[in-house]
Subunit: 314 residues, 6 copies
Amino acid sequence: MSERRINPWDEQLKIIKEVSEIMGLEPAFYEVVSRPKAILHVSLPVRMDDGSVRVFEAFRIHHNDARGPCKGGIRYHPHVDLDTEKALAAWMTWKCAVVNLPYGGAKGGVACNPKELSRGELERITRAYAAAIARFVGVDLDIPAPDVGTDAQVMAWFADEYYKITGRIIPGVITAKPVCIGGSLGRAGATGRGVFFTAVEASKKYGLQIKGARVAIQGYGSVGYSAALNFYKAGAKIVAVSDSKGGIYCKDGLNPEKVMEHKRKTKTVSGFPGCEEIGQKGPLTVECDILVPAALENQITEENAGDVKAKLIV
Amino acid sequence: MSERRINPWDEQLKIIKEVSEIMGLEPAFYEVVSRPKAILHVSLPVRMDDGSVRVFEAFRIHHNDARGPCKGGIRYHPHVDLDTEKALAAWMTWKCAVVNLPYGGAKGGVACNPKELSRGELERITRAYAAAIARFVGVDLDIPAPDVGTDAQVMAWFADEYYKITGRIIPGVITAKPVCIGGSLGRAGATGRGVFFTAVEASKKYGLQIKGARVAIQGYGSVGYSAALNFYKAGAKIVAVSDSKGGIYCKDGLNPEKVMEHKRKTKTVSGFPGCEEIGQKGPLTVECDILVPAALENQITEENAGDVKAKLIV
Amino acid sequence: MSERRINPWDEQLKIIKEVSEIMGLEPAFYEVVSRPKAILHVSLPVRMDDGSVRVFEAFRIHHNDARGPCKGGIRYHPHVDLDTEKALAAWMTWKCAVVNLPYGGAKGGVACNPKELSRGELERITRAYAAAIARFVGVDLDIPAPDVGTDAQVMAWFADEYYKITGRIIPGVITAKPVCIGGSLGRAGATGRGVFFTAVEASKKYGLQIKGARVAIQGYGSVGYSAALNFYKAGAKIVAVSDSKGGIYCKDGLNPEKVMEHKRKTKTVSGFPGCEEIGQKGPLTVECDILVPAALENQITEENAGDVKAKLIV
Amino acid sequence: MSERRINPWDEQLKIIKEVSEIMGLEPAFYEVVSRPKAILHVSLPVRMDDGSVRVFEAFRIHHNDARGPCKGGIRYHPHVDLDTEKALAAWMTWKCAVVNLPYGGAKGGVACNPKELSRGELERITRAYAAAIARFVGVDLDIPAPDVGTDAQVMAWFADEYYKITGRIIPGVITAKPVCIGGSLGRAGATGRGVFFTAVEASKKYGLQIKGARVAIQGYGSVGYSAALNFYKAGAKIVAVSDSKGGIYCKDGLNPEKVMEHKRKTKTVSGFPGCEEIGQKGPLTVECDILVPAALENQITEENAGDVKAKLIV
Amino acid sequence: MSERRINPWDEQLKIIKEVSEIMGLEPAFYEVVSRPKAILHVSLPVRMDDGSVRVFEAFRIHHNDARGPCKGGIRYHPHVDLDTEKALAAWMTWKCAVVNLPYGGAKGGVACNPKELSRGELERITRAYAAAIARFVGVDLDIPAPDVGTDAQVMAWFADEYYKITGRIIPGVITAKPVCIGGSLGRAGATGRGVFFTAVEASKKYGLQIKGARVAIQGYGSVGYSAALNFYKAGAKIVAVSDSKGGIYCKDGLNPEKVMEHKRKTKTVSGFPGCEEIGQKGPLTVECDILVPAALENQITEENAGDVKAKLIV
Amino acid sequence: MSERRINPWDEQLKIIKEVSEIMGLEPAFYEVVSRPKAILHVSLPVRMDDGSVRVFEAFRIHHNDARGPCKGGIRYHPHVDLDTEKALAAWMTWKCAVVNLPYGGAKGGVACNPKELSRGELERITRAYAAAIARFVGVDLDIPAPDVGTDAQVMAWFADEYYKITGRIIPGVITAKPVCIGGSLGRAGATGRGVFFTAVEASKKYGLQIKGARVAIQGYGSVGYSAALNFYKAGAKIVAVSDSKGGIYCKDGLNPEKVMEHKRKTKTVSGFPGCEEIGQKGPLTVECDILVPAALENQITEENAGDVKAKLIV
């Protein structure tokens, strides 16, 4: 059977359409939120280490700023998909609104493969990107953050380029910078910690015990690892984790720090001693109580939803 | 036989690729010019006369600014096609460069049908568009102009909104304003006049006489009409003209001003007394010496090229 | 006997002159504060619903900014009187200074009758006003607020226009916006609540009991109604209220919410069942313990001061 | 008989009203031009030479900027009259439009008596004024010039203060600066030269000969003196001149440079040897062919118009 | 024996070099911090009270802003020494970093002798200085403060000039303003209080009792006096103080307020009744427990270090 | 005998002092012009090709801007000497004033050796320099140009970085850019051409014939070569040229283009066939009619002045 591609933007539109009808909002509401307010799409000529010039396409989306300046991540990925990013920008609008933060939704990215770029190339791409969108971001306009493929170092380069262009030291222009230049304490593991807190609250509702619960995590980057650590410290058993190169299962539970050490050396969790290899999508369908999808969007689909065994998906 | 759609952007890329190879330019040149430098894509919520809110999509493209601030028209058309507009922006880059003007290439537009909008709605759309791209234009950055569906009045609204946003009176931000607020004399008929001058120069080369030459013109808007007037005054015979609703042919020549009077009353050149009706595409293939395609792009195609009888196409 | 018009600006000057002499301030002090620092007086051409253009006069006054950015309301009223507004701006300076807020005093207004304008006209006037004074306000310069004839919706239009002109989302530019776009909780009834708290403090000093006290309120807009509610909840008896169309008296006390329901339906408090009609100025001179003048300035004059029976005027 | 005060603003309104009706302009036109677009009214605290602080009132008026940035003089005079200045600003709008300059009309002034101020005080007032209106002027907004009571030195101080505030060297912000810092050659006597050229053109029409014509000039400041010189060099006979302290008449004609030398020494033209004393208003009614009123506005009134004997008033 | 001049900048470099080697920092670190990021050196033409123009040299140094906007004092002193000021700017970088404040280091000064300038001259120098460095300071760039020769009044003039140039009221641009215009409470004696707190902490470590401790203070300006007051209130005995004109010693302790009264009258602490005269450098070497050098840098040198008798130097 | 170092700044001061005394200028004039208005001294951390970070010191001097924005070159040289650069900035002030250009004087430079830097390093240094002084230059403030060690390519990098920082395309910010991005035609050889024109004018005065005149040129960079070409085309005989590595003499005259070809291959004029080697300083003292010193300043000194044999030094 052929795989059907889900368009995240269309999905989002469908949900918002339904919700706005249920709420009886006037049609103008849907008219407005069903399109991003503004998209800036730029080309970045960058000198590569071998002396050649490559041009990278990049963009930044403001979905909606009615409730305040926009907020949203920057993604570096070879196949930047505009509809996915538009959907993520819109979800930022809804997420901020739901928890009543005075922010709107944004998202951005560069079509590049950070795994194949040298540190110098990454820095030059980031600086070119920051310069190209410098007048499209700002503490009163749009405040980026890291996302897939970017980290605190990328945020630091972005901030530094922004300082150069504005001639001002404005740390508030971007979040998740290194702590020593104005980043927030605890920001590094914040998303994963949020996953854990959500699981704790949901567990209360569904009568689950975190202590002793079996947890499967798809994705072992910054989010997945931080979630794993939090669950581990709370007494849960990490039975399965995976990354883009493979996945592992261990009925008796894994020590997240040890797994990370292994991954740092071998570039993957796969091959961790004493585990069953279950592949990149393995954690989604293993026997577990709590499932944490911490890789990319749209992993649980019509095709595999029936195989999920977790009681709770966070 | 089915009509094959030509993608103007791909056409442009192919030509530039060939040219840059013939000229032996370094690959970075094509890398850079084969993508617009920046595209700003915005949504414009506008209050319609009936009280409803409609949201119009609009954009502005900077193809390349290596030789100076960008320059290019603003199009209002129901089916704004991004690839067409990207191509037109790129052609602005090449046109400015070829005649050695210190400008780069740009283009923009709003997806709307100006023929179905009231004057008030057109003004509100224009002001919303000007506000949305105000920081993406400017005398040192990008200087718009009219194009299909826009005119001096639209330029005036755009300028006024720009003045309001900048708090400055900067007529240089847009060209082809009404003369009384800083527009240039002679700008109204400039494009058509250029067509005529080009024909004059080409005629010298090909041994044609403008005086007495039979001229066919497809399109009878600002460009076609101005070209017709110039040919007419130089003694040429305007044998065929057309607009989006029809075309006419008159072996003995037409008086362009009379035809325009007719069009003002009936909204089309079609039905002008004493003429044969030849349809919208008629002028392309009538017997004539000089053919002026002054409607949209891509009218002469593989299919009809063989039927063109003109000695000169301008 | 003819009514003598009191000039609020001259009154204010007289008081400040006396105070500065009593305090032995150097003459330069009075020289400076006896004139507003700056007045911006503008004309606003606005398209009316009937297609005509009307021009509204408007202004914004900065009285003094020695202690910080200016702060003060925006009034929409047919007979905007510059001397009244100058005085109100000056009182803002003194009020901020007395409670040691780091703000100076401002005031502004548009000469228009909001009661005769459609919602669309009000929006267009507000946006024209915001654009005209955009460079005269700002978080570091002057922060407007509502006053007679303006409300949270007007603040929202003002903010939105300011965002458009600055290209930034700066909610701090104006206060009392709707809560959902960054307004403060509790701001709606704040002025009336302040009246009540002042009465509570004064009551302590003069040996009055709020509980059971008879309260008369002139004006039943945002301030008067909020004051009434607060007194009512504290056990006071609201014996009289009035608005621009009439006044009512009820010895046994009124339920403020019921009176407001009546006013919403009939556009006036007058005619509320079971009351004696006492006219717009009635509350000023009825039998009561506490009198709250919550309409316009200068209601208690030499002529009627002798008839006031309240023990406390707040 | 009591003197009737003419209100220049009302006069101007009456004329524009009539003209717009004759021309059949739509009512919105008069609605807009019958009010200045913006007036900025400021207070300037200035340290005087004796150590005291005085506060001067000052303003700047933009009458209309539809045709381009505003242009108009700065007046220093003890009795600055807002209606006079509004009228002068409006006349700048009409004068620029009539000769098709791309400028609108402005005017400004400080209520002070430059004759009683030291050079240091004048400089400090000028710098305070420049700072207070710095964001209300600019090459793209409003370009001041000298008027009664101000000269090239005042323009230089204004420019220098503007440079300090903007951090830029922008000589175009003000005209009639000293030539050495960017003023135009020939600007000093330009207004008087214009008077003369106008007389030359009018003379042709009315069959007058400039050579030998008898010229009377009221006012002997920059304008009157320059006019006198031009007429004198063209062979006209300067039979009468006056200034604020008196006037002189000499049937055989005066040498303008000698008269100016006398005025420089004695502060008035009065007392020039060999002349009849005719008082400040004398030139208006002496026997002459050409009369040049070069003092303040409204010198020829209903009362004295019948006594004017000149064939031409310029 | 000739006095050897210590270069504070070289001293600082030597220390930082050693520290960075001990810490094993990469060489680029020392490369960068061993030079100020930027120095702005300006000339200030100022009109003196006698009408002459004098030109004062002034500067502002940004040592490093990696951790946030720069912070540092403004010094008015006849012999401004660039190397000293560079060192002080660098020490600001280190001090902010050590206590983890998000600021970098700056310093500035004007080469003038404030003791020989009138109040008007001081104001004009300060305003000229503020204007000259206005684009080199700011809440997001560099925030000055007082230092030797400057006080709250100088800060107020600086702030006011900055407000004039920016057209904004931005109290955050400079610290230690008078409280009434936005200065912080307790700022006046903060440095001296800090000296005292440091002594308290050090005393705990070294087993000293503040109560009864003998304190000698070199320098009796804002810092020395505040320190004296704090020690006095804590029960310490102020046995010696000095200023630039002399020093006094009193075995039984001095009342700091009485000494200050004496200094206000006579311009020096010297001559205070009942004391032994010990000269300006006397406090450095008297018998005492705690020594507070609160004058200029580099008072304790190789030559006199052996004579210091204090147990604690703060 | 030891060589005495001439301080160009002191030299310049001495001359200006004398001139201002001869002209009887008020002392304030010399006070002001004897100090640069502003010097910005910055450090530029730059990543070198070997991965290390080096920090280059750089500066920009504004000597005086009374007559307009400053103008002056940018020098890249290992031993940037502040006093030399200050003098060159001052000379720019005087040169612009003498020929009545509305510009003041500036100069700048980076302490680096462009001959030892790769193209990439030069670009990164230039971009860092442009960013560091971006707010100190501008069309209304200071317009740089090339000088020793910099060329059109450096200007292009500078302009591009300035565009990035301002977000505007402002070719006027720097002169001598490559023609294709807005540089002026004829700018490349302008300085040498000016030398030639000056010689032509001086020759008329001193009765010299350019045709046949023997010309010696010290320095064979952009200036010397362009001068040589101009003299050669006018029929003069180029008898001697030199560069930093040596000098050549040819009694019968040299063909400048051939010499340049030789230099391009061998990096020096020295060794050109058929010439006598005379060393770098040779041209100063050879037998010739016209001597052109086109290397650095201060080549003709007390020591060698007696040996100069030219009739004319340009």
